[in-house]
Symmetry: C2
Subunit: 361 residues, 2 copies
DNA sequence: CCATTATAGCGAATCGTTTCAATAAAACAA
DNA sequence: TTGTTTTATTGAAACGATTCGCTATAATGG
């Protein structure tokens, strides 16, 4: 005897049709509130709804997507989820996606190229409707871009502006942010300022330094080359701390006095803080420190870190707006050019910066 | 005239069939290396592969899943992704999932019940093959459990052991962890130890306290009620710092001396660190502090926090092993009981704890 | 040389929806 | 009354893949 147990695993639209006494077509029309539902009398609707509910029916998304070619799913590719910089952006993405009732498939490339490609392929296979790439830190090379464009899928990159203009992007105004941070230190009376610059390969690194230079020029502040060190090129964002520590240590060894230190980012600043503590230099008593990013731990630190805040949730949200627009454009067969958004950073003044002690006293 | 442009958006198996000169059936058999492929001569295979490649064909997952009822996707529901405790677990989950070539749909409940339910529904609609719930912090009530069980989907909960035994779980051995932490302090000579306990509603809170009590009993250590405070029940994990600060502040006001403080978790410890700093108490010079969890910022702190490390990546991996086993069991129509794994925590000794100063000196 | 058996490939049904075109009754207009 | 429109409902054809069962040739064995 065949199992034929009553617990028919899946209840289909035909089951609902049978129970309600109408055809599958009608059930579909009612349940989706399709245009034709206009002609369906309320009582019919009610009976169908009731049958559907009592059977616990919900439509099979695969069948649905197979016809409609839509699946309300976007891919989110991060390069390293353990980077604290990611999390708020992910929150921003998630939140906006949820509002638009999209679901996200999360892929983490671990900063590995092969993994990125494999994931990209898997995502493409799933026929995601859009793709958001969170390019924190990794030196995103151009071939990856080509891979993405091959997919012909609406894509936004957060954190990196590609040379080619074809893919949308959301970035923060690094230059203005750095300008503001330095301006803050300057306003507190600091003149001997040390810099731990970011890895040269990073575009944000360059942009932040441009901000510094511009401010220096605007105010005739002298940038002492002996007070400038660079973070090595490095794939793992989480060792930024160690590098920051090491570079600051080296800076200290130069015996060149400074009253403030501007770090490439918060992680670097944490490392610097540790190096300064080790050298017996009090922050902010003897030296002010400013970071960049405002990742979560920065406000926790003692002293809490003065830093330049990236509007990370907003960046995530902005990315979603762009993909969403692109997706609807595609659905309506409109063409849709790439969009580039640059969001403003905001200086957050906390405890790690203080006016330079008055020399006269 | 119809558009009929050559850029036929999607290339189907039939296109491959046409190009290679075989039928769709054969193409399917070859491309999936199905049992029947045994009979297909190598040259035929080669021709089909070539055609597929040259057309850039990849199968439509919807059509595929529609038949096979499998889609290699699991849902991952977190309660708050901005909680730093989440990230390493997510990494562990992602990594294991990737190995098994599963993709994950990430849902973030924001600690809101309605959002949890909505997401659960969406995930069920997608017919995810398994579900991993990351129950950090939220007081997961029993109704949610019922919701999950309704779905009949292999589920694992990380971080919470449900009363009902029906759903698998992965938790950490809180009691032993707390026991070890206290033992560490005791070994350093501390006898007047303050405690900032976690919210009473949290099961981990209770378990950790049990560990403390057990150790106290084992060693006749006296637990001074005036040195014990409780964190308020509170939904947002990120304000644990503020609560930790406030409670430590209050503790300090009691003027009851102590040489060490054991915090419910790292966030609380950060708050305590800040309160102690404010009161001019040096850590670890005048007071040792120990946390729990070992979230990312803990090692960054100055002083770096001594804490009890939860093996978060391993927990994520363990969860994946369980769902994976459950899924294959289900696929083979075997029954599969709930599994409960309790992982050991590990004491990580850093800079925030030190031997109590010798009184004789 | 005929009966098997292995080899190669195909046609058609199926998965669960949506949607177009068709039908038919009812309502309306002339 | 007849012809047209509106209202209600449905059958059948996709969507793109997998798979069972069938045919047909080639190889094998006696």
């Amino acid at each position: 005897m065949k199992p034929r147990d009553s617990s028919k695993t899946t209840v289909t639209i035909r089951d609902v049709a049978k129970m309600s006494g109408f055809s599958a077509s009608t059930v579909s029309i009612v349940l989706n509130n399709a245009p034709l539902a206009r002609y369906i009398p309320p009582q019919t609707k009610a009976r169908i709804q009731k049958a559907a509910k009592s059977l616990g029916y919900f439509p099979n998304v695969f069948a649905k997507s197979l016809r409609s070619k839509r699946n309300h799913t976007v891919g989110v590719m991060v390069f390293d989820i353990t980077d604290p910089y990611c999390t708020p952006i992910l929150r921003g993405i998630e939140n906006s996606l949820y509002q638009a009732s999209y679901l996200q498939i999360l892929a983490d490339a671990h900063n590995e190229r092969g993994r990125f490609e494999r994931y990209l392929e898997m995502l493409l296979e799933r026929r995601i409707e859009g793709l958001i790439v969170l390019a924190n830190w990794l030196y995103l090379d151009i071939n990856l871009l080509a891979d993405i464009e091959r997919g012909k899928i609406p894509t936004v990159i957060i954190g990196r502006e590609l040379e080619s203009d074809a893919t949308s992007s959301v970035i923060v105004d690094d230059e203005a942010g750095a300008y503001g941070a330095l301006s803050h230190l300057y306003g507190l009376g600091h003149r001997k300022i040390a810099f731990v610059r970011g890895p040269k390969a990073l575009s944000s690194s360059k942009a932040r330094w441009r901000g510094v230079q511009r401010f220096a020029k605007d105010t005739d502040l002298e940038l002492d080359a002996r007070l400038i060190v660079d973070l090595p090129d490095q794939l793992n964002p989480n060792v930024g701390v160690d590098d920051g520590f090491r570079m600051t240590d080296e800076l200290l060894k130069r015996k060149r006095p400074f009253t403030a230190l501007m770090a490439y980012d918060d992680m670097t600043a944490f490392g610097a803080l540790r190096a300064l503590a080790k050298a017996g230099i009090k922050v902010p008593g003897n030296c002010s420190v400013v970071g960049f990013d405002d990742i979560n731990p920065s406000q926790l630190f003692v002293p809490a870190l003065t830093t330049v805040r990236q509007p990370m949730e907003a960046m995530g949200a902005a990315a979603v707006v762009i993909v969403n627009d692109a997706i609807t454009a595609a659905a309506e067969a409109r063409s849709f050019g790439a969009i580039h958004r640059k969001l403003a950073a905001e200086l957050v003044i906390r405890e790690s910066t203080r006016a330079v002690p008055d020399k006269s006293s």
